[in-house]
């Protein structure tokens, strides 16, 4: 794992080399703000080897406009992984930049164990958009609790599009035991033809899976 790798490398080096690594780290952090795109991209990529780079990488991500640099930063954050990365990426779910938001969702999806402790809180966020993005994270999240979280959304959330996003995911992971909860959703949103359509689709799929 890259996270351990960075730490191990630094511990195993002699004192002099450790100093040079530290200088190198600071140099890379400075280069993250270089006007030259290639230098920023290279620095972002190299910082994948430093777990302490999470905050500086996320600070750069806030202002970075160039897609290829954004991608390098996110790839490095994915390589570093862990809770610190998740904690620092979650605020980007409120970004106005749809492209960045979607890339952040992809990184969070790839860190299932680290993101799991944050899901329930995100699903209770006062902003319905954030709750939709939380369900989006669940779209391909390989985690055992996903069906339970989705069931909680369709039972309790009042926003039609949050429920719609959860229903879409349940089309893949729904089970016949969920049918009563699904029928309740159909009743709760009786004036929404899409919800009726999605519920029928999920029920049909769960029956055919069974």
């Amino acid at each position: 794992m890259a996270l351990k790798k960075a730490r191990d490398i630094q511990k195993s080096k002699p004192k002099e080399e450790r100093r040079s690594l530290k200088r190198n780290f600071q140099g890379l952090i400075n280069q993250l703000n270089d006007p030259d795109i290639q230098i920023r991209r290279w620095a972002a990529r190299e910082l994948a080897g430093f777990e302490q780079a999470v905050e500086p990488l996320c600070r750069r991500l806030q202002k970075e406009q160039v897609l290829s640099v954004q991608e390098s930063i996110l790839n490095s954050l994915l390589t570093i992984g862990g809770e610190e990365v998740v904690k620092n990426l979650i605020p980007f779910l409120r970004s106005d930049d749809a492209g960045l938001r979607n890339k952040v969702i992809e990184v969070l999806q790839a860190l299932p164990e680290a993101v799991a402790p944050y899901i329930e809180k995100l699903l209770r966020d006062p902003d319905s958009d954030v709750r939709i993005f939380a369900v989006d994270i669940l779209q391909v999240l390989p985690h055992a609790q996903v069906p339970e979280w989705l069931l909680q959304v369709i039972r309790t959330d009042d926003h039609v599009n949050v429920v719609a996003a959860a229903l879409d995911r349940l089309a893949e992971v729904g089970t016949p035991e969920m049918i009563p909860a699904l029928l309740e959703v159909k009743q709760r949103f009786a004036n929404e033809p899409y919800i009726a359509f999605a519920v029928d689709t999920v029920i049909e799929r769960t029956k055919s899976e069974a």
Partner: protein, 123 residues
């Protein structure tokens, strides 16, 4: 028969929009994100695009910008259909190149009427 490309990462949304489009006599194709949609547009001709905003790999805004910059694709009308109801979201959609903006979930008759207008009739 006129052809509509439905671009959305949600499978149930694609199925629902397909049903509305086919009910009024159009042919529907589906793509799960902007990249997949661009690939399909290189192979086939389409008369209308129904585009979601939040999708992996390439979001709806970036996809529409790419379409509007491509001389072979730029004139295809596009409806952006998003969960986001803010004025700024709508403005961003038009800026990216949308011809119409709808907020999810869309009532069938509303979608069918706008689709019909933008493809210039179903025959």
């Amino acid at each position: 028969m006129k052809r509509v490309l439905i671009v959305d990462d949600a499978v149930t949304v694609r199925m629902y929009h397909r049903q509305q489009v086919e009910e009024i006599g159009l042919k529907a194709e589906e793509a799960a994100n902007g990249v997949e949609a661009l690939e399909k547009m290189m192979r086939d001709n389409f008369d209308l695009l129904l585009v979601d905003v939040n999708m992996p790999k390439m979001d709806g805004y970036r996809f529409l910008k790419e379409v509007r910059q491509n001389p072979d694709l730029m004139s295809i009308p596009a409806i952006m259909i998003s969960t986001e109801a803010g004025e700024q979201d709508e403005a961003q959609a038009y800026e990216a190149g949308a011809n119409y903006y709808l907020v999810k979930p869309v009532q069938p008759e509303v979608l069918q009427s706008i689709v019909n207008i933008l493809v210039g009739g179903t025959r």
